[in-house]
């Protein structure tokens, strides 16, 4: 009897479940995009809120029929989960400012993102004109664009001037061009007890953390080769092994800490003076100002290069399929990326719009804030994550090998990452 009832419960459950998966029919497909009121989400970061409010207000006064309702949604790890859930429920906003390129392939697989290239006639021309070659890095495997490149935050190496001086190093023009330079500096810092660690990237096993240690240095060392190219993992080449070896040595010598940081694990170690150097984008200035005296140099490479590539840490704009008035969404997106609004973004937040003419648009700003010049220079050479299916699996596999041999400071890097590369080749092909 009992068993029967239980089965009955399951059957009933299954019967009510089916509608959830099979329910179909509405909004997204077909027809010409329409105009009307739309919703957007932007980041809760205070500077960005100020920028977004101005832009939205300006738009709304000019377009009373196509009102934009804007909401601040925090840009954190959980935001991507929230967007994923909202896609499934069909209640995503029209536009999300701060869409991480690494999440795009997953959203696309869910059919949550609008194919901009196919939906809007002027999409290709507008985006290419604004962002130039950088666009190609964001194309999906089918060649279309499902995201608008928006802003770029090229990573550089920050160093703490006081710590460097205390360790007897040159604090104004430190020698940090090659891996050997960095290791030598780390050694000096450690023996002088000038800081607890030389570099302290986030050490937990989250797959996204590779964007803060390995990937920026690898891009610099390899001249901008993405983690996976043409469906093949690239990091087992010489450039990759050099970068991996460098990091393994950092951990083996105790110059970096394999433990989670107590506090903000990205900016905290550098701004608290625990780490002598930090890898960060232009936003670092806002977080480090008033806490430590710092300078900025380009990322080091194995041999020392003149102009290095770096990680772009881009945040883009995605348009979601649940949007009813896609024409308005597109028009507003273009409006928000006009020359004036892009310049305002830079001035308000210190983050660079992904534009080919960023140095002209930003000329006035850079003159007043020379600190940002090296970042502006790096914008054209900044590269982001590859847009591949299974992106998060790929990075997870990479991070596991990293945990195993790099964080622990021991083990054969070539073997471990050779095996990871094989797994990744499979994962990247779906």
């Amino acid at each position: 009897m009992k068993r029967h009832t239980r089965i009955a419960v399951l059957v009933t459950a299954a019967a009510v479940v089916l509608p959830l998966s099979a329910c179909g029919s509405d909004d997204s497909s077909g027809g010409k995009p329409t105009a009307g009121p739309i919703d957007i989400w932007y980041s809760t970061n205070e500077q960005e809120q100020a920028w977004a409010k101005t832009v939205v207000d300006a738009w709304n006064t000019e377009h009373p029929e196509e009102k934009v309702t804007a909401r601040a949604v925090p840009a954190g790890k959980s935001t991507e989960d929230v967007i994923g859930a909202a896609i499934t429920a069909g209640n995503t906003p029209c536009l999300v400012y701060n869409t991480a390129p690494a999440a795009v392939s997953a959203f696309e697989k869910q059919r949550g993102l609008v194919n901009l290239s196919k939906t809007f006639k002027d999409a290709e021309s507008f985006i290419e004109q604004r962002s130039g070659d950088a666009v190609d890095g964001f194309r999906s495997p089918d060649g279309s664009l499902y995201q608008m490149p928006w802003k770029t935050n090229p990573f550089m190496l920050y160093y703490n001037k006081d710590v460097f001086a205390k360790a007897g190093l040159d604090a104004e023009h430190p020698k940090l061009r090659t891996y050997d330079d960095v290791l030598a500096a780390a050694k000096a810092i450690k023996s002088a007890k000038a800081a607890d660690f030389a570099l302290y990237p986030p050490a937990t096993s989250d797959y996204t953390n590779s964007l803060f240690d390995f990937y920026p240095l690898y891009l610099a060392n390899s001249g901008g080769t993405q983690l996976v190219e043409d469906g093949k993992a690239t990091f087992t080449g010489e450039a990759g092994l050099q970068t991996l070896g460098f990091w393994q040595q950092m951990y083996a010598e105790g110059y970096s800490s394999p433990e989670a940081y107590s506090g903000d694990m990205w900016a905290g170690p550098f701004s608290d003076g625990v780490a002598a150097m930090g890898i960060a984008g232009p936003w670092g200035k806002g977080q480090f100002d008033g806490k430590v005296e710092f300078g900025v140099v380009p990322l080091p490479t194995a041999a020392g290069a003149e102009e290095t590539s770096t990680f772009a840490d881009s945040k883009n704009v995605g348009m979601f399929t649940s949007c009813r008035n896609q024409q308005t969404a597109w028009d507003f997106a273009k409006f928000s990326m006009s020359k004036e609004n892009d310049a305002a973004l830079l001035e308000e937040t210190g983050q660079f719009p992904t534009r080919t003419d960023v140095t002209t648009v930003a000329a006035g700003f850079l003159k007043e804030n020379p600190f940002y010049e090296p970042f502006a220079d790096a914008v054209p050479r900044a590269v982001d994550v590859p847009n591949i299916p299974g992106s998060s699996q790929v990075w997870t596999t990479f991070r596991k090998a990293w945990d195993d041999t790099v964080l622990s400071g021991k083990g054969d890097v070539k073997d471990a990452f050779g095996a990871a590369a094989q797994t990744i080749d499979d994962q990247a092909n779906g």
Binding site: K2, T5, R6, L20, W41, S43, T44, N45, E46, R71, A72, V73, P74, A75, G76, S78, D81, V82, G84, A85, T88, A89, G90, N91, S262, G263, D264, A267, G268, S271, D272, V274, G286, Q287, G290, K291
Partner: protein, 277 residues
């Protein structure tokens, strides 16, 4: 002998209390520090390093009173449902014999054993798409309204009460409803308080679900507003960790106050007096 025992007892209790309070103290101190001090010496208050700036940083960033009110509404709703559903089901499971009792008990365990991470997206789709409860208190409350922990607590306390009390009342001709109201409920008053004190904190600290449900900042409970703050804006504060800890204080203080308010009742009612009274 009795003396050493008492000494031992207070020694153990004191040690436990220190272990329990140290983090709370650390949180308070950390929330008041101008500059973060992670050394051992940082545990002692340093007057030159104390400030209320971390707290005011939070207040500037969102409306504390709105968030607090939202938290209160959500938590009160959850606790009310939890207690009502839990008391009824717990009583029935412990005292009454009816067909399907085993099944209900299995259901209680099952609900508690399923990890929320598994249910989250289907639940979200259902609540938002079919129940249309996005940005509403009902939507926030719904998944937490039944709490198997409360059912189990009530069941276990009723089991502990001698069955004869209920049988006696039944023999006296009292209706089942009356037995429930005037025998069972007064008997488990400590359990009601326990259940309230232990289930209240779940919805109070819950972040992920209300964050999913509410995008309107005027609807967001404190835990969500604080997480927003500590994820995106605390790094711009003078002492980021201080700001995060200040947020944790704001969240913890109402809970501790509530406990202090209710713990008085927690002691005064005991079974002996309830039976005799």
């Amino acid at each position: 002998m009795a003396r050493t025992l008492r000494l031992l007892r207070y020694g153990a209790l004191g040690l436990g209390a220190v272990a329990a309070l140290l983090p709370f103290y650390y949180m308070l101190i950390g929330a008041l520090q101008k500059k973060r001090d992670t050394s051992l010496g940082g545990l002692l208050p340093d007057p030159s390093n104390l400030t209320l700036a971390n707290l005011s940083g939070i207040d500037d960033s969102f409306s504390l009173t709105t968030a607090l009110l939202n938290s209160l509404i959500m938590t009160a709703g959850v606790v009310a449902c939890t207690l009502v559903f839990g008391l009824l089901a717990g009583y029935a499971l412990a005292i009454l014999h009816f067909r399907g009792r085993g099944l209900v008990f299995a259901l209680v365990l099952l609900v508690q054993a399923v990890p929320f991470q598994l249910l989250m997206i289907p639940l979200y789709v259902m609540v938002v798409r079919y129940f249309h409860l996005a940005d509403s208190y009902a939507g926030m409350i719904l998944p937490f309204a039944i709490n198997s922990v409360a059912v189990l607590i009530f069941r276990q306390y009723f089991l502990q009460i001698p069955r004869e009390i209920f049988d006696a009342a039944r023999m006296d001709g009292a209706s089942e409803l009356r037995i429930l109201r005037s025998v069972a409920v007064p008997l488990v008053r400590p359990a009601i308080l326990t259940a309230m004190l232990v289930t209240f904190i779940g919805p109070w600290n819950e972040f992920l679900w209300p964050f999913l449900i509410t995008k309107n900042p005027d609807m967001q409970p404190l835990a969500v507003s604080l997480a927003n703050f500590s994820q995106s804006n605390s790094t711009f504060q003078a002492n980021p960790m201080g700001a995060v800890l200040a947020g944790a204080c704001v969240l913890a203080v109402p809970a501790v106050v509530l406990f202090l308010l209710f713990q008085r009742h927690f002691t005064s009612s005991n079974l002996g007096s309830a039976i005799k009274g």
